[in-house]
């Protein structure tokens, strides 16, 4: 564990009887980081999070949060942690404001920030939770997680049920909070979400973390599909010799290829010809992850 680690998990495993929850999960998340835990449903993301919050207990291994043992110092940890699950379920009979007041009381805090956030997310605090739409209920969840200015936020699929505009606003909030020194741990099965906000990503699959990478590094490995229409015939060999360029095919004046990393050399070479049109496939982290998965498959199978 490094000195600045906000979350440090060592060989965390959880079995439900014979069923695997997670096995041998190791994580180190630094202060100020936005860490994404990415994986398909059932991969073990929620299990990890519920162990960190001491809702369930690891079969083996241990974790420290903000330097404190996740089991013995659980109450003290939760004083400094905001938590938001994907489906925020709470007391339906309370109004949003009553709920926030209750949680603020339990935390020894106040509603100042909650009210600012409610305005920002356009939430009517006077309505009962049970009468709110899923999206509005999730807004209450966002507010209660952030309102006490916790040092660490643990967000489990936080944008489930939010419309795209709200997702954007939420991502903006996440980035602001990280800028002010908070650490965020976000689980998601939605790749673009992780790509937008996270600094580092851990990929979890079938209960194991199979890769932890910086988003920037992942982007460098990202394949971009490029299609260029020229005003003349071009030399295939010239393009094949460009670093990072693969799978070059030429049909008449049309060239298509895949590029890993920067497009700079390819564009400079293309500029020596008359370029009619260029199309680029949006660089998707998904493909990089699928590469990881595929590699994993080929090594295990």
């Amino acid at each position: 564990m490094s000195n600045t680690a906000v979350i440090s998990a060592k060989n965390l495993s959880k079995f439900y009887g014979k069923h695997r929850g997670i096995s041998d999960v190791n994580l180190d998340i630094d202060k100020g980081e936005i860490f994404g835990l990415l994986g398909p449903n059932g991969a073990g993301k929620t299990t990890c999070i519920r162990i960190l919050l001491d809702f369930i207990r690891a079969t083996s291994g241990s974790a420290t949060i903000l330097g404190m043992d996740s089991r013995s110092k659980s109450v003290e940890i939760r004083r400094n942690v905001g938590y938001l699950p994907g489906d925020f379920i709470t007391y339906e009979k309370l109004t949003a404001e009553e709920l926030l007041q209750y949680f603020a009381n339990l935390r020894g805090g106040h509603l100042e920030k909650a009210k600012v956030l409610a305005e920002r997310f356009d939430l009517d605090l006077s309505r009962k939770i049970g009468e709110l739409s899923r999206g509005n209920r999730q807004k209450v969840g966002i507010i209660q997680a952030f309102m006490s200015d916790p040092k660490l936020l643990i967000l489990d699929e936080p944008t489930t049920g939010l419309d795209p505009l709200l997702q954007q606003e939420f991502h903006a909030l996440v980035l602001e909070e990280a800028e002010s020194g908070k650490t965020l741990f976000i689980s998601s099965h939605v790749l673009p979400e992780v790509e937008i906000v996270c600094d580092r990503v851990g990929i979890i699959r079938a209960g194991s973390i199979i890769a932890v990478e910086e988003v920037a590094t992942l982007r460098k490995q990202t394949l971009t599909k490029i299609a260029i229409e020229f005003g003349e015939v071009v030399s295939k060999a010239d393009f094949e010799s460009v670093t990072g360029v693969r799978e070059v095919t030429i049909k008449g004046h049309h060239l298509s290829c895949s590029v890993t990393g920067s497009l700079d050399s390819l564009i400079k070479l293309a500029a020596e010809y008359t370029v009619v049109n260029i199309q680029a496939g949006h660089p998707a982290l998904e493909e990089v992850f699928l590469n990881f998965y595929n590699q994993q498959d080929t090594t295990t199978e």
Binding site: R50, I56, Y83, I89, N105
Partner: protein, 265 residues
């Protein structure tokens, strides 16, 4: 009312406490207002003296109907009182932790900086407080009814009997709370505790006339509640202590199990 888990729990059961309190007050009033009619009816004593012992165990002997305390003992503390207190306590106890868990609000509550033990104890305290309000209402009903009906009643005897009833409710409620907190299953908690209550009642009331079963009265919580007819003979501190002991053990098990198990999602 949202300052802490204790007050929030009381707030949640506000309606239930009010309705049950009306129930206990009406019970107290009804029985006391009805008493003079029974007392003054001729021939009842003769009739009762002809009945077999087993029958009397259930409906009470002649003394039951000729003294106010005896009548209250049979009509309030024999069946209706324990039933109202028991039902209230078991529903509240079974739902306290297991109910929150089954409705998925427990995770979010425990995401706040509060220990499981603390939540459990505050919820238990709220339950005991609710039962206390039921007790007060019953006491008011009885006192006011006796005043209206114009007969005198042993005040200390009545208070002691209500205290014992409060303890009975607390014992059943905390057993339900303990089973719910240990398993996360509300209906299991309610069902098992209801069984403890009903079997206890049967053992104490009906089977006490069967000599072979007499020793088993010690396993009945009803024996400790009113085995010595508290309103007539005064409270037996050992019996009260036995209920307190059951209650404390239930809480200890609840804290131990609740602290050490996984919460359901």
């Amino acid at each position: 009312m949202l300052l802490n888990v204790y007050l929030k729990s009381l707030r949640d059961s506000k309606k239930s406490i009010i309705y049950y309190s009306i129930g206990t007050m009406v019970l107290g009033l009804y029985v006391t207002l009805f008493y003079p009619t029974i007392r003054d009816s001729t021939g009842l004593t003769d009739f009762l003296e002809q009945l077999p012992e087993a029958m009397l165990a259930f409906i009470g002997d002649a003394d039951t109907y000729t003294t106010a305390e005896g009548f209250l003992n049979a009509e309030v503390f024999g069946f209706m009182g324990p039933m109202i207190f028991g039902v209230f306590a078991i529903i509240a106890g079974a739902g306290a932790i297991a109910g929150e868990e089954e409705s998925h609000s427990l995770d979010q509550l425990l995401a706040n900086p509060i220990s499981r033990k603390n939540v459990l104890l505050q919820k238990a305290a709220a339950l005991i407080t609710g039962l206390f309000l039921l007790s007060i209402s019953l006491w008011i009903g009885i006192i006011v009814g006796a005043r209206i009906a114009g007969f005198s009643l042993s005040l200390t005897g009545t208070l002691q009997a209500i205290f014992s009833l409060w303890l009975l409710g607390g014992t059943l409620g905390l057993i339900a709370l303990a089973i719910g907190a240990s398993t996360g299953k509300k209906s299991l908690a309610g069902g098992l505790t209801a069984a403890v209550g009903i079997i206890g009642f049967l053992l104490d009331t009906f089977l006490s006339v069967v000599d072979a079963l007499d020793p088993f009265k010690f396993i009945s919580v009803f024996y400790y509640f009113n085995g010595n007819d508290v309103i007539i003979n005064g409270i037996n501190p050992l019996h009260s202590l036995a209920m307190v002991a059951i209650l404390v053990i239930a809480m200890a098990i609840a804290v131990w199990r609740f602290e050490s198990r996984d919460l359901k999602n």
